[in-house]
């Protein structure tokens, strides 16, 4: 297992290097000069030139990248251009917020999607299945930010059950955290539910068509045992794959939803940073997203081998 972990980690390194290079390169592909962004359009040419020197912008790109990567490796992500705050601090405060939302969203997707998928699979091509399948087609087609607005109108403005904006973590009290999380988490999970349902349905239909299932039926095992024990276990690989995918999807979904609900997570920060061309923040936050995705992929890879020893 340790050896496996080591080889997987080694395989991630080139991916990570290229990803960091992309992130670093973001501020150099556009028309805007980073020094001008910092000083504003009205700065004198001498000041811009001296700042360029100071920022090392006259060095070859690869040298700049090396320096940046070195700083990043020691946890120094620079300072925000717009707010006088270290980027590391920004991430430290916004990451838990986003993670709370993502985990809640993934939980809801799995909790609703898996049973729905199994239900649809056992009634394949019957009305129930058609309803579930159509529902998941609608789920991936609704713009989630719009659904967020509709739910805010219904549950926060008309019926004042949940707050319309802002966020609370469990540190602020469990009840408060729950009230603030439930709406955005549900919105974030709409596409997730649809994805999980679709994939689980497919995997279960395949698992249920296996010969072994017929044998189990013939020897008189109760249908419930066959379904939940044998068929579900044979679809476990798919389900694990879907969960990995789901984290990526949900992370993306939170970006926009954080803006809708004014939740001070990483998505909210990166959108503000994008309008202000605050590249240190953009780079830091995007890097954090990539690290999360890579970590999840690694975990999924390991989970495969635990669930299904046949995978080499």
């Amino acid at each position: 297992m340790l050896r496996l972990l080591a080889t997987r980690m080694a395989a991630i390194i080139p991916t990570l290097l290229f990803a960091t290079f992309t992130i670093f390169g973001l501020q150099h592909i556009g028309p805007a000069d980073p020094a001008t962004v910092v000083l504003g359009e009205n700065a004198t040419e001498e000041r811009i030139a001296s700042l360029r020197e100071q920022m090392g912008l006259n060095d070859p790109l690869i040298v700049q990248y090396g320096k940046w990567l070195g700083d990043v490796a020691t946890g120094d992500l620079g300072e925000s251009i717009i707010r006088s705050e270290r980027v590391a601090t920004t991430i430290k405060t916004s990451l838990p917020v986003t993670l709370q939302l993502v985990l809640s969203g993934v939980f809801i997707s799995v909790a609703i999607g898996v049973p729905l998928g199994i239900l649809a699979a056992t009634r394949a091509n019957k009305p129930t299945d058609v309803m579930v399948t159509s529902g998941s087609a609608i789920g991936v087609s609704i713009p989630s930010f719009w659904l967020g607005l509709v739910l805010i109108t219904a549950f926060a403005i008309n019926w004042k059950i949940f707050p319309a904006r802002g966020f609370a973590t469990p540190g602020d009290g469990i009840g408060e955290a729950f009230r603030h999380t439930i709406l955005p988490a549900f919105v974030v999970s709409t596409s997730g539910i649809a994805i999980v349902t679709r994939q689980v349905r497919g995997a279960m239909i395949e698992a249920l068509s296996a010969d072994s299932i017929r044998t189990h039926q013939a020897k008189g095992l109760p249908w419930r045992t066959i379904l939940w024990k044998h068929a579900l276990r044979n679809s476990a690989v798919t389900i694990v794959t879907v969960i990995g995918l789901l984290v990526n999807t949900t992370l993306g979904a939170t970006v926009v939803i954080e803006a809708v609900f004014a939740i001070p997570g990483m998505g909210f920060r990166v959108i503000n940073a994008a309008s202000g061309r605050d590249f240190p923040v953009i780079q830091g936050v995007v890097l954090t997203y990539v690290l999360i995705v890579l970590a999840i992929n690694l975990l999924i890879d390991i989970a495969y081998r635990i669930i299904d020893p046949r995978i080499q």
Partner: protein, 345 residues
Amino acid sequence: MTAPTVGDTMQSDSVRPPKASRLQKLDWLWADTRAKVALGWVLVVLFVAIFAPFIAPADPIEQNLRSILAGPSSDYLLGTDDIGRDFFSRMLYGARVSMFGAFLAVSVSMMIGIPVGLIAGYVGGVIENVLMRIVDSILGFPAIVLAIGLVAALGPGLTNAMVAVGVTFSPSVARLMRGQVLATKNHLYVDAAEQYGSPVWRTVLRHILPNAIQPIIVQAALLLAVAFLAEAALSFLGLGAQPPTASWGGMLSRSSQFLQVSPAVQLYAPGLAIALTVLAINALGDSLRDSLDPVAGTERRLHRTLARAAKRLGSNDGDTGRHKPQTPTVAPPDLQPSTAGRARS
């Protein structure tokens, strides 16, 4: 991302290339009601997008400050927005922005993804390794996050935003294309062409590309739906279409600032327009996929017939369904729902 992709395994061992006539005859469209309805809606939206200046009752950026946030009336079919512009006309013009944006993003992704996939698949070796490493690392970004980063670099605006979205889509196209090329290049007809001395470019363009392209077309249709959502989301966030241009996402963003006072229809109309169009494009993509994959299509017809027969016999058996193998999907599993998912919201 290490899971084998379904796209990679879609290969048939026939010596002759599959016939393209299915696509050309458009049989698939008329075989299925869902596809017909979906096509109808997409055509309506396209028509509106193209002819917006002729059918819109008012100028989409003309302000009438004496009528602000008014409800629907005979003058203003869907009321007016916060600075007194005709909401209905803005809806019609918004179709333009969305359609243009979505097509732009998909074109960009094809222009990058197809050549990269072709080269990686055909040339192989070190080049393939390097290219696929790059593809994999871009797939490690949540698409919307990378798109936002790119927009920050290029500057906000519809064209920049949708080029950025196209770039984030391209790895999925490249991956699928490579898989298809790998599956195609071992066919006998490719070998034959090479033996006859066909130059590499001709082998690739004449023999490999046409026989590997079908899943890419399906992928393009499905990506179009995702691009539509991405355009709406980026315009909603203020990074896409800039005011005063009317876009559905931008209109939702304005309505959302006046949720308590603006007419309800102004919250529902743009959202429903986006949702229905995306649903229709997805449905078309699905039908196209089924039609290009004869096995799935036949099976579906078989099920329908069996179900009908069972009904007629008064049997309550639906067991037929349980033995249906999983319909192969064209998009790699990490993209199909998820491209959807990644860029959406």
